[in-house]
């Protein structure tokens, strides 16, 4: 999941650079890149938070 998220983020970033440099910054392409990046970022966070739910969950309780 981490690799997938990383790949999507890289893809989105390259798409954005392409849309700015080659496609003269057309908003439609930029927003498409944003969609790709958003998916990547959500994937990244879901993976990050849920990878070790049991152990992390208990430690956050302990702070109370």
């Amino acid at each position: 999941m981490e690799r997938v998220a990383g790949f999507i983020i890289i893809l989105g970033t390259l798409l954005w650079l392409f849309s700015v440099i080659i496609l003269e910054g057309r908003w439609q392409w930029q927003m498409f890149s944003a969609l790709v990046l958003t998916i990547g970022i959500f994937c990244a966070h879901f993976w990050e938070e849920l990878r070790n739910t049991d152990s992390n969950g208990e430690s956050s309780d302990g702070q109370e």
Binding site: I10, L37, S60, D61
Partner: protein, 662 residues
């Protein structure tokens, strides 16, 4: 060496824990006593004029000082009387004094609109005669021309304000309480930043014990530094302003503008050194990576991005040589940065949701394993209220508020008001309460919501821009209920104190502001910050308020979809890259916050951050330095506030006795 990945929540909580040196307590006592109430009122009302005056002179109200002055006086009196002060009393004192000092600021919009209605900008944009009477009396009315808030002309604006205040108190108290019960009691979110405030009260409560602690020494050092700085920065201009027509400023307020000096090699770049070196204290307290990345991003913007890319490709096209920081900032904003800024704000919302939604899933899973969450019963003796009663109060408060707005702008579609009040506000507040509960700060914000609403409603009158809308956020306030819990202060005593002091503050605030307005016109040479900033603020306000009036207004033209998309997608790409390379997520907030900003405004903060990071931490150790920080900052604010209070007192007395020959 491979970097270890740390989740955003863990990263932020690790920072929050640096400040969290006290454990919460679970015995509750009332913090409201007669001596606390009188003490808060005395110090609060004494410092309120200084706070208002300072805000017009330097842009900073110094209101943070007053609660600490009250607490110091209180603890000193307790020590001299061979008694002790409880932390509940001190926390209550902090809250009530803060409310007392801030009570003058609540009427600031009256002074602003009294100025705005007579500006050339308002006239040229044809809105001066369209400002509703419930905002400000007419520009040629006696109440405005004689600078008198006590004139009957002001009865309608003040009456509307007071009705809104009453309904607002009903809504905020009830909604914050319900959200606190949901997030702190039911879901048991940690509220990581709440212990910082609780620690302040604890620090000074300790001084009434037998032994003097380090906190008192640190507070005194901060106070002396604040007194010296306050005298140089605020005292000298204010005192000389009493005697001379043009006040002497040792350091120019609010900045020294180098924009024209850099235009040779960095056209369209801005650099105005902000002279308020009190900002160094914020640099001490703020996380070092944020301050550093913010500064680097701002430098890169003003010295590379603006001149070498945006100017060369004629995106920043209105710039011409010889402009000062305000004009360059305005033109750059209209050309590009306002649109890009909108995009940046949207990216904060996406990043916030991406961080918080997985947390919800995580919380649900960990609830099952911990077996503690889901218990809705409050701890005994905390002074809780019936949930149904609070719900009823919120409905009454919100219903009344919607009715009031409908009365003010009868032609604006009611459905939008109801949607904001009963759908958006609860949802927005709950999200914010959750992010405060987990991260200690707000992450979710839909930018330019009002503007979007006005476009969708197809309502074209200017009056809607002056009306309040029921899009509120109570989530931030839930943290203060957590602080009450941590300090062991009963909720009932806090509510009683707030309600008792309110009527006194409503009256005193307006009287004090009336007298400060009488000293000199605002803005004028007496109030350099207002004189510097208000004209540019008036232009901005005109641009916004007329942005939807016709299809080709300057502001609408300034908002370009491709630039908004660039700001939005560029920020997301920065966040994604930081995540990919396992760099701290707080760099994102620094970088995105710094892009487009003036680096000169960050120098003092950067200086504080560097001194803290490379000297103070080595000298005192990480834990001790983060213990000192809030107390030192409080002491500094106290010193500056005392100087402000002293100088405004002299100015007020001077103006009261000098009879002008005309």
């Amino acid at each position: 060496m491979a970097r270890e990945r740390v989740s955003q929540a863990d990263e932020w909580q690790a920072w929050a824990q640096r400040y969290d040196i006290e454990g919460g307590i679970r015995t509750f006592e009332s913090g409201l006593t007669v001596k606390v109430f009188v003490g808060a009122l005395f110090v609060g009302l004494l410092m309120m004029p200084g706070s208002i005056y300072l805000s017009y002179v330097s842009g900073e109200s110094g209101a943070g000082a007053a609660p600490w002055v009250a607490v110091i006086l209180f603890t000193e009196l307790a020590r001299r009387s061979f008694t002790t002060a409880r932390r509940q009393e001190l926390y209550m004192l902090l809250g009530l004094t803060g409310a007392a000092v801030g009570s003058g600021m609540q009427y600031r919009s009256f002074i602003w609109y009294a100025y705005f209605i007579n500006t050339p900008q308002a006239a040229s944009y044809e809105i001066a005669d369209k400002i509703p009477a419930w905002v400000v009396p007419a520009g040629d009315s006696v109440g405005v021309l004689t600078r008198s808030l006590l004139h009957p002309d002001w009865m309608l604006p003040i009456g509307i304000y007071l009705a809104g205040k009453l309904l607002g108190t009903l809504r905020s108290v009830s909604a914050q309480y319900i959200l606190f019960r949901l997030t702190a009691d039911l879901e048991r979110l940690p509220y990581p930043m709440a212990p910082i405030t609780a620690q302040g009260a604890t620090a000074l409560a300790e001084t009434t014990g037998k032994e003097e602690t380090w906190r008192w020494r640190v507070f005194s050092i901060g106070s002396m530094a604040g007194l010296i700085w306050g005298f140089l920065y605020i005292g000298v201009p204010s005192l000389t302003g009493v005697m001379m027509s043009t006040p002497i400023q040792i350091l120019k307020i609010p900045w020294i503008d180098f924009t024209q000096s850099i235009e040779g090699f960095a056209p369209t770049g801005v650099f105005a050194l902000r002279t308020d070196f009190g900002q160094m204290l914020f640099g001490f307290v703020l996380p070092f990576p944020i301050v550093m990345t913010e500064f680097i991003a701002a430098m890169a913007t003003q010295f590379v991005l603006n001149p070498q890319i945006l100017y060369r490709f004629e995106i920043l096209h209105q710039w011409k040589p010889g402009l000062d920081v305000r004009a360059v900032g305005l033109y750059n904003g209209l050309d590009f940065w306002m649109s890009a800024g909108m995009g940046k704000s949207f990216s904060f919302a996406i990043v916030g949701m991406a961080a918080s939604i997985p947390m919800l899933f995580k919380m649900r899973r960990s609830k099952k394993t911990a077996g503690e969450r889901g218990a809705f019963a409050p701890p005994p003796n905390r002074g809780d209220f019936p949930i149904w009663l609070m719900g009823l109060l919120w409905f009454v408060g919100m219903g009344g508020f919607v009715w009031l707005i409908h009365w003010m702008v009868p032609n604006f579609p009611l459905s939008f008001l109801l949607g904001f009040a009963f759908l958006y506000t609860p949802l927005n507040s709950y999200i914010t309460a959750r992010t405060f509960g987990v991260l200690g700060r707000d992450l979710f914000d839909i930018p330019y919501l009002h503007e979007i609403t006005f476009i969708l409603s197809r309502y074209e009158e200017v009056d809607i821009w002056f009306a309040p809308l029921p899009d509120e956020d109570y989530g931030r306030g839930t943290q203060s209920w957590r602080v009450l819990e941590l300090t062991g202060t009963t909720f009932t005593s806090n509510l009683a104190g707030t309600l008792l002091i309110m009527p006194i503050l409503i009256v005193s605030g307006i009287v004090v502001l009336h007298f400060i307005w009488k000293i000199a016109p605002i803005p004028s040479a007496q109030y350099p910050y207002a004189q510097m900033m208000w004209p540019i603020n008036a232009t901005n306000e005109c641009l916004w308020k007329t942005s939807l009036r016709d299809g080709n207004s300057q502001m609408l033209q300034a908002i370009r979809g491709d630039y908004v998309a660039a700001g939005f997608t560029g920020s997301l790409a920065i966040y994604g890259m930081l995540w990919y390379f396992k760099l701290p997520s707080m760099w994102f907030y620094g970088i995105v916050g710094g892009i487009g900003a003036d680096p000169g405004s960050m120098i003092a903060r950067l200086l504080g951050a560097v001194i803290g990071r490379f000297y103070m931490i080595k000298r005192f150790g990480m834990k001790r330095w983060y213990m000192f920080n809030p107390v030192l900052a409080a002491g500094f604010a106290c010193g500056v506030g005392l100087i402000g209070m002293g100088t405004v007192a002299i100015a007020l007395v001077s103006k009261a006795v000098i009879v002008k020959p005309f």
